[in-house]
Every structure is written in C-alpha cells, then in structure tokens.
Symmetry: C2
Subunit: 401 residues, 2 copies
C-alpha cells in the first residue's frame, strides 16, 4: 500500500482538525493507505518535507483533536500559482519519494484552486499515481457547490451567543446606547447574517450591498428614537458603492493581495457619534476569537467536519478519484439532514458564494425567514468537551512536536 | 412578615443573577420575608417604585436565571451621594410604603458605599426597621475584605480559554507575528493576569505597574528574535508613570467620572509597528463579551454566587444585621474550599484591591506560581447549561416584562 498526506491551509476554524481526525480514523477502520502523514504548514512545509506520522493516533488523541481549534498541522498562505512549474515538479518528486498517492488538502477557495491546479498538472503530464482531494473549511461559508462549509456553523454559533449576551448586557442601563458587533466576512456576509439568529439585531450591514451612509444614519436615528437603543451588526467587508471599505482607514494587506480588514465597527461608531444619531456607542470586534473558540462548537459542525474527512478518505478507494472536493448537500424535508457529495474542485476554486440578495431585507432590517431556516439547524448541539485545568483540552500542535 | 428588596448595580457579570436566584431560593426554603421584590434598574428604578415580584419564581426559572448573563433586574450607574438627603428620605419612604425591611444590593465598591451610606443614615436617624446588605459582584475582582468576587472567575475562565485558542491560532503560520489580547481592568490587573493560566503569555502589562515603553519594546524585540512570535496581554488600565493611560487617545468618560477605556491593545500595536520590534501585529479586545458570556461560566463561580445570595438572606434573620457585605474566605489547605464571611460595607466602599505587587514577575514576564495557585481553583468546573435554539437559554429581563 502507498501512503496519503493531509495538510491544512488558510485561516483556522474551530473544527478544522475534525476533518484530519476523520481521515485518520477512516484509515484505521478501513486501511486504504499504509501511512497517514500530516504535512506541516500546508504546501509550504510539504515542499520542505516536514511531516508528522498520524497513522496510529490513539482514540483519546483523536477525540481531543476534534475539539482542538486552529490548524494542528499548521497552515500557510502559500498559493501554488499555475505557472510555478518548479513547485509542481518538486511536490510530485516529494510524493514519489515518500510514496504518497493521495494529498488531502483542507482549505477555502484558494486551496481548492491548489487541488484543481495539481490534478490538472498531473493529468496534463500523464501522472496517474498521485491524486489530489479537497476538503472544504472556512468560517466565511463562501464556497460554491456545497450547502455550507465546515467551520462556519461553530463561528455562527459563537456569534449568535455573543450577540444575545451583549444585547442583554447593553440593555441593563436605561441610558441611550448603540451597540455595534463586528464579524469577519471580507466578501460574504454569512457570519454577520448569522447574528440574526439571536433575534435581537436591529440593523445589519453586509458586504453584499453597497453601504449608504445617509440611509444607515437615518435608520439608526429612527431606531434610537423608538427605543433609546440600537443593536447593529456589521461585516468587516462592508463597503461603499465605489468599492471602498467603510473600514478603509484601517486596511492592511495579507500575502494573497487581499485586504486585511478590521475597524468597520469603529468606523460606524465615528459616523454615529459625529452625526448625533446617538450619543453613546460601544463596539465589540469579535476578531480572531470567532474562528478559534472551543466553547461554542456546534455539534452538527464537528460531526460533519469529522465525517467529511471519513467520506473523503473512502472516496479515494476509487483510483480515478482526483481533482475533487467533498461537499455537503442538504436533504429536502423538515428535519435537517445532509449528505456528502463530490464536486470538481475547479468549480469551487476562486469563486465566492455570496449571501443571497433575496434573503436580505431592505433598509438594513436583517434577513428573511428563509435565511433563518437555512442557518438555524447548523448551530444545533454541543459536543461533550474534555476539559483540563478549567479550559478545553487540546492536542499539542504537530508542528511544535 | 415584612418584605425584602433585591437590586443590582454597576456593570454586569456572567453570574450576577445567580445571587438573586440564591436570595429568592433561600426565602422559598426559609421564608424570612413575605415577598422578595426585585428593584428594577438599581436604586434609580427603586426610587421610581419600579418593582417585580420574584417571590414565587419556579425552579426552572431559577435555574435559567443562574445562567442568564447581565443584570436581569437592570442596572444603574446612579451613585447615592452622602449629601443627597432628599434621596435618602425618599428611599426610606418607599421602603415604608412597601413594607420593605431589607435591601440586598449587588454591586462593586460604589454599591458597597451605597450600602454603607444608607445604613449610616438609618443609624444616625434612629431608623431600625430598615436594613441594608451588600452582595459583591465585579469581574474586576477589586473588592477589599473578600478572597475574590463573584463574577471574576467566569470572566477569568473566558479570558484563559480565549488566550489559549488565539495562541493556537496565531501559531499556525510560520510568519513573524505578535498577538495582543486586551482585557478589562481599569485599576486592577486581575483579569489580565488570569490570562497567564493559559501558560502562553510572553508579556503581561498590568495597571499595578507604571508602563515603561522602552523596556516593553526591548522585551518584544527579544521575544520575537527568539521565537518569531510574541503573545502579549494588556489590561485596559495600563498607564505611564505620570498616570496617563497608554490608551489615552481613546479615553471617554462615564457617569461616575471614571475614564471609559479601550484601545490599550491598539496603542501597543502602534508602538510595536512604529518601532520595528515586529512587522506584524494582531489585536483582540475582549470588550463586553468577557463579562457577559455564558459559554465559559465557572461552576465554582456560579455556585458561590448563588450560595452567597442564600447566605446573605440567612444572615438577615438576625435583626441587627445591616451595613454589611457578605464575602468569601478561602480555607487553608491543598483542596480549594471557601466559606462565607460578613464584613462592614464601609471597609469595602471606595477602596480598590490591587493585584499584589509581589505576585508580578519583573520585566513583564507574567505572574508568580503563588498567583497561579490562587487563580487556578476559581475557574474549575462547568455548569450543565440549558440550551434553546442552539444557544444558552436565558430569562427575559424583568425590566422588560
């Protein structure tokens, strides 16, 4: 038997390691591969032949791995460009050297592009003994061809909980007050929209719509006039009609040429106070915690992430299976159920699935009942966490061992 | 039988309602009072005769109340000044009118001043049929005469969890990176210090020490040089030797004349990037969520908060019990246990218990083993939360009914 390699890319999620745990577990139950190797720091470390052997992981470690946030194998923001033939050749040579038949790559749409590019390269060069499979993960929930993405639901559950708790908090005083909750979401508003599950969002600002400052301030004023309070949720990617982010003053840049955002909440606060729409404002930017907390993992999310890994592993029993991503398809019917499906990675690569415009209510009033019905089942259930010294137990990251 | 009144003041905590639940439960088990009235929005609403009858609360509501964050009775930032004789007279008249013998007031050191002032006023005016009892609550843990304050431990548990999770998150990339976690704590560094329970804090900035920018940047540089990373925790109240907050640019003002802080993390980030001590920095300001989350309630904290309410109720069976606060005293010995004690409210009022200087390691290196041994037992255990629609269930605040 040959070996397989699993690696992680892009920003972490709360359940990203559950997919790795699923691949390892599946191979223990049904050994398609001799070894399951973990590639450290994604393609970057793989190209440096930095591996960790996960094959014989204990059941206890497997369980704790599922509740360990952030990429336990390490991550990278290295994008394998299609003209980087040298890197392709080097990767194939390393796969030859370590007898690696299949590379499982967990990530977002950049990672699916890597999967598509590698399988295309193999096909074009008559390489049939190396295969490339994508496993989706992204808190942003912005991948095409899948009902939703592992990682999103746990972030959404955290956001909903914090939205409810901070809403209770800002109401305790009788004074006039505006609360602004800022979530992640550069291009897609799924995370910000999920705050509406709390039932307490007065105004919602998504990147799917051009921001109209005048209308927004009018709505804040009306809301404050009516109830002396206004609870606002804004996505970091909110922008004006000309494309300029409302957090523009704060924008930096990451290695992919994407703007690193933050500060949309502070920008709204400044507008509100300057305009006099309200006299007092508080901002909570959920920042990194929303994608790496353990305390609000959704059981649906952990289980799907784990089983998606198992499904991906199983699919590779078919030797022609390559260039694919395993996704989720929701069944029709009242009770939530989802099946695993496979899709071509190049249909996912570099696209963005936006929050549907038809689910957005006018004048920042939030989201439709249909949107709520889509979101609600995803945040259900809580895993039984293993605790240590008062906080959730975690496995020592493999790149630190 | 006469009645009692319970009211809440100051900033909320995750377990502030457990004390109310304890008072209500104690009176159901051992009825000292005919009615347990909730005073809405603290002294402010009490002076407006806004009450909610809590006497016959169901067991289910009592359980959910214990896990409901933020003041379910509403709060106020109204400080009863000692020269405001009119307000004193009005409060006594209202207590007469509603046959209220005892006022239980939960809050921080301002609230203990209210308890002290009211009992002093009663004593000076020969009023013996009205009594005033303080129940401590503050995430800041800065009250004198008690081992610790209900509310602190749950905030500390949340901070520790987030510190661990974000530390795992910022390590996934090999790139150079500094992470800054900002906690509450205007005058006392207990909350920031509690992050050290994660075991991953490289540098800790507390308000108990004057901030030395030069030394700090040197330490950041050394740490980044050694491991390419640096995890920093800063208290919002960190300040220079001249008293100026390092977040000074961001300071606003609350109704008590205290500065409303925020932005210490951003201030450190600016220093680090400007100096070139590191090239990349991320800031997480925990803001409101640290004091009102439900997901990381400490079981020790919930139970102590509940039982402190029961203890306070029980103490008032003695008709001379007034002007007191119920606090906690830790037993000697290896296993953590604490007893309830009573102290004079005026020994607590307007003082601040700082994080002990002898527990602070030099050069921002964190806290001593003794400090860890003090903190660790407080964050242990998790209550079984009652969930609803994917997030923790809560009672509708009484001031909204």
């Amino acid at each position: 038997m040959s070996n397989c390699l699993v690696a992680q890319s892009g920003g972490p999620t709360s359940v990203i390691n559950a997919t790795v745990a699923g691949i390892v577990k599946a191979n223990q139950l049904n050994p398609i591969y001799d070894k399951v190797l973990g590639g450290l720091n994604g393609i970057e470390g793989t190209l440096e032949e930095r591996f960790y052997d996960l094959t014989n992981m204990s059941d206890e470690e497997n369980r704790i791995l599922r509740q360990t946030p952030a990429s336990a194998l390490g991550s990278c923001r290295f994008k394998l460009k299609r003209d980087n033939v040298e890197a392709f050749e080097r990767l194939i040579a390393i796969m030859d050297k370590y007898d690696i038949e299949t590379l499982f790559y967990t990530g977002g749409n950049d990672s699916m592009d890597t999967v598509a590019a590698l399988s295309e390269y193999a096909r074009n060069n008559g390489i049939t003994n190396h295969r490339f499979v994508g496993c989706p993960k992204t808190v942003d929930n912005d991948l095409m061809e899948t009902d939703h993405c592992p990682g999103f639901a746990s972030a959404a559950k955290f956001i909903t909980s914090v939205a409810k708790a901070t809403w209770l908090d800002y109401n305790v005083y009788t004074r006039q007050e505006v609360f602004i909750l800022e979530t992640m979401g550069r291009d897609a508003g799924w995370l910000a929209a999920s705050a509406c599950l709390s039932g307490n969002v007065d105004l919602l600002i998504l990147p799917e719509e051009n921001f109209d400052k005048e209308l927004f301030l009018k709505k804040v004023e009306e809301c404050v006039k009516e109830k002396n309070k206004c609870y606002i949720v804004v996505s970091e990617g909110a922008h004006y009609e000309n494309g300029e982010y409302i957090a523009a003053g704060e924008a930096k840049n990451d290695g992919f040429g994407h703007a690193v955002l933050g500060g949309a909440g502070k920008a709204l606060e400044a507008m509100i106070l300057e305009s006099g729409a309200a006299s007092r404002c508080k901002v909570q930017d959920l920042s990194t915690a929303q994608r790496c907390h353990v305390s609000q993992q959704s059981l649906v999310d952990v289980n799907e992430s784990f089983e998606l890994g198992m499904s991906a592993h199983m699919h590779t029993a078919d030797p022609s299976f390559t260039g694919k991503m395993v996704g989720l398809k929701r069944r029709e019917g009242k009770e939530y159920e989802a099946d695993f499906i496979t899709v071509d990675a190049d249909k996912v690569a570099n696209f963005v699935k936006h929050f549907p415009k038809e689910w957005i209510l006018p004048e920042y009033k939030g989201i439709s009942e249909e949107a709520i019905a889509y979101l609600r089942p995803l945040i259900q259930g809580e895993p039984d966490l293993i605790m240590k010294d008062g906080i959730p137990a975690y496995v020592t990251p493999y790149y630190m061992r």
